[in-house]
């Protein structure tokens, strides 16, 4: 299971990576915005994408749309982990094809729950 973690704050990437390691996911890579994430996704067999929304350069929602528009990546499970909490934004992300949405600040349990739920659905 190869996971890409995209957030412009390195501390948040580190926190998510540590939580993922606790859950048994050790194969993780990082990117600091959509512009660096997209080529990484296109180049290397990722199974899962966790992304923030508000980032300089390319935002998370644009990254999500780009992923869904890319034939090879279209079915990649995407979890959004973000402080953006307007209803219309959550609806926008849902319409763009997000698989899960976690609002910051979040707990380890919430992250685990959402990741498990996504994999259940992907496998089921």
């Amino acid at each position: 299971m190869k996971i890409l973690v995209v957030d412009d704050f390195s501390t948040m990437r580190r926190i998510i990576k540590n939580l993922l390691r606790d859950l048994g996911f050790t194969n993780t890579q990082e990117a600091d915005d959509g512009n660096t994430a997209l080529p990484a996704l296109q180049a290397g067999n990722f199974d899962f994408l966790i992304t923030d929304w508000n980032m300089p350069g390319m935002t998370g929602i644009d990254l999500l749309k780009a992923v869904r528009a890319d034939n090879k990546l279209a079915s990649l499970p995407v979890l959004m982990v973000t402080a953006e909490s307007k209803r219309e934004q959550i609806i926008e992300a849902a319409q763009a094809g997000v698989n899960g949405y976690v609002v910051k600040p979040f707990t380890a349990t919430t992250l685990e729950e959402k990741i498990n739920k996504i994999f259940e659905r992907v496998e089921g």
């Binding site: 540590n18 508000n54 402080a83 909490s85 307007k86 209803r87 976690v102």
Partner: protein
Amino acid sequence: MDAAERLEKARLLVTQLESGDDEAAEITLDQIAIKKEPDLFQEVGRLTRELHEAINGFLLDQRIAELAERDIPDASERLNYVIEMTEDSANRTLEAVEESLPIADEVKEKADRLAEQWQLFRTRQLSVDEFRILSEELNQFFTQLTEHVGVINGNLSQVLMAQDFQDLTGQIIRQVITLVHDVEEKLVQLVRISGAQLPDKQQHAEKLEGPVVPGVDQGDVVAGQDDVDDLLSSLGF
């Protein structure tokens, strides 16, 4: 023009209108208006002067120049420093935790294994040779334990010390809040001079609002993860 004079002119005007003397009525009307005009001019003059003084007073306000040229750039620097300090603290904390976690895992793993062996010994299931090995392992474990706990202790102290930013960033942010209040005051003065009206609050859908702040209206936001889950399940997730 006093009240008696005004009344007299009005009566005259009514009489002239009733008698159909339009020309005379026109003259009387003009007389009334001309008497009124100097008052109007005076009033406009006074307002213009007041506005001029208010704008000049505003332009000459030293505090505004200070705000624009020094305090606001300073505030940006200060807030950048806050970001730096909190980031540094988060990194120091994460480092300490990332170093401690595998050590704690290792200690637990070894302790579990030794406890198992120890249980076998207590139920007399170990041979003398096996016990000798266990005894040696226990010895090593105790030595390592002292070393490991020392490292974890050091890291916990590092986590503790990494919280020192709170006091400093708190002070810096409080200074910036004072500055924001000053700017607000000046802006209110400016709005008062210009008499601008606040249009209805517009929500910019494209603008990213960031974290929800208690007490700040950010539009239609969710109250937490449960709300997000409810919203998504209502959309068929």
